[in-house]
Subunit: 147 residues, 2 copies
Amino acid sequence: MFFGQFEHNLDAKGRLTIPATFREQALDGLYVTEGFEANLVVYTLRDFEQIASNLSRLSITNAESRALRRKIFSSSAKVSYDTAGRILIPANLRAVAGIEDAVVIAGAGDYFELWSAKTWAKENASLNDSGMNSSRWEAFDIPTRGA
Amino acid sequence: MFFGQFEHNLDAKGRLTIPATFREQALDGLYVTEGFEANLVVYTLRDFEQIASNLSRLSITNAESRALRRKIFSSSAKVSYDTAGRILIPANLRAVAGIEDAVVIAGAGDYFELWSAKTWAKENASLNDSGMNSSRWEAFDIPTRGA
DNA sequence: TCAAGAAGTGTCATAAAGTGTCAGGAAAGA
DNA sequence: TCTTTCCTGACACTTTATGACACTTCTTGA
């Protein structure tokens, strides 16, 4: 499970050091994809390849499913670590998330997210808005123990 | 699997450099075919020959299946790389996809697609239309973990 | 049949992008 | 405090894409 929050810097070539604790949980590499917000979502090989194989089973004769394949596969990249534990984030993905220098790496359980530090600051501000917290999440009803 | 998105330029003779990571997955060449949208679809030899052999089993006494065979086979080309990793896209295929100079090469899992950069930009704009994203794909319900 | 033009292919130089290496300093743990 | 691990920035090196040019093959029409 990916926990915690880190702020790391891209180097001049767009490489990002992945926190050592995250690397240990995904030794063989990662998949980086576009998130639904202005961020990137990073999966382990195992999890993303499961998604990909489900997608590959969609019929290519259906226009909607073609569009979905196109969107997911074209906005994803398989990345591996260099000898210093960094990954190269493809330029097009950096662009969609507005990532230029400071990056927030935020654990999210099975996956983790990458945010430009600026965007993260805004998102975080709304998470902490008093008044929102109490009611916003009620609908999800998350149990603390398995059923 | 073909992942990610690249923008490359045709040279004056209509040749396109295939991204090195894609070439590695299809060392012996490619098949280029017309897509269902205004694009081209590129398969590995292995996959396309599978499709072709399935098509060949369709009855020739049925007019619809004759039409399908005709469409697929006549709008496909087997291409190989030159010494610089480029393929020559046949002029008729370039025409149907409106490909002239800048080309977007988009991974789609088992295959990848070629788009004129202009057409891609339009397609992409509709993919990213706010409001569409959340609901459009719900029906597909792709799980991240096996059941 | 031949010549001329078009189309296709190979080669090279250059610039951009990607990758490896290493040393220094910050941070964390003992 | 000392030791170890981790992140970062700089630099060197390799790979990749592209644009230009030369050469070959094919097509077409005289």
